[in-house]
Subunit: 201 residues, 2 copies
């Protein structure tokens, strides 16, 4: 079993939202084929001024795909960009799993993907994100939330814990633990433990 | 007070070694000006196939600099590349602080920068790294080690904890905690707590 992992980049994405999950999935290259994409296939610049090459999305036969949607300041404009939101909807429909990190869930919410689904997001930006999807069953206290094929995480670093939780779900706990040990990451493996939501109550 | 932070990229660097610290320092853009450099200023590809634009190193007057040296598979070749090792020695001499992550300390060791200094590194690659510097006072059990202007961390993710520890040292604990909260990172703030070194004894 292997997957193409489409990592969606856009200007002003939050650097670690992408490269935390990428580091983890990249440790299992036989299973996860990383593919950095953007809507126009150009060089993309993150909020931390990292400039990264990206590809256009390309359909392939007989392959399962995973979609990764980061957050960051770029989401503030992108929620109002109808062609961008349609692009996400299309990518999500073709994906076996969709994972968003931080305010990436605002994009999924705006696309209607999270309607009647349980989901979470960044805690500091909680009010703004949750306004993007009134039919979403938002979970305030969670490191990450899984509902069907959808995984959504809290802010930035929570994406790493979620990605390991995702690996646990599809490949088993031993593989998740082994992967966390290879990068000497102290995995916060309880998806309900969220020390940050209280900071902004 | 502000610093140019020279983040040294080379092919096959470990993605999170760079982008963990970059995420954290990038949250304080008035203090830390991130500058991605490589020896030839070309596009660099990480071990996880991320392709990143880099600049040449450029001297500037009246500015203090910080050097970040990641690890990764690329270090295995680079320790034998004399011009690369000289380049690191020169960057280090001009820097007020030098921080290495994971096997990045093999490069510093090879350059003689760590001689008679306390330092640590990745725990799985411990034997190989420590062979690169016989005069180094290697510390096996540590999340990170500080000695004078030098900071060295354990594997990959430990670089994030070290970077927050570095911020604590130069800007105070409140700033480090605030920064960790902004990225919802559960900071492992005890530099002596290292759950990974025992895995490879």
């Amino acid at each position: 079993m292997s997957y193409i992992v489409d990592v969606l980049l856009f200007d002003d994405f939050e650097t670690l939202d992408v490269f935390g999950p990428v580091e983890i999935l990249g440790k299992l290259p036989d299973i996860f084929k990383l593919n950095f994409i953007s809507i126009d296939g150009e060089v993309i610049e993150s909020s931390q001024r990292v400039r990264i090459e990206s590809n256009l999305y390309k359909e392939e036969k007989d392959v399962e795909r995973i979609l990764i949607v980061p957050g960051g300041n770029g989401t503030r404009e992108n929620v109002s960009d109808e062609s961008f939101i349609s692009f996400i909807r299309e990518l999500h429909n073709r994906a076996k799993y969709t994972l968003s990190i931080c305010t990436g869930s605002a994009l999924l919410a705006k696309a209607g993907i999270l309607d009647n689904k349980r989901a979470t997001t960044n805690k500091k930006a909680y009010k703004w994100v949750t306004e993007q999807g009134e039919k979403v069953l938002w979970v305030e206290e969670a490191r990450w939330v899984q509902d069907g094929k959808l995984y959504t995480s809290s802010g930035v670093s929570a994406g790493m814990d979620m990605t390991l939780g995702f690996i646990e779900d599809i490949l088993g706990k031993a593989k998740a633990l082994e992967t966390s040990q290879r990068i000497e990451y102290i995995w916060n493996e309880d998806s309900t433990y969220d020390p940050f939501y209280k900071l902004y109550e």
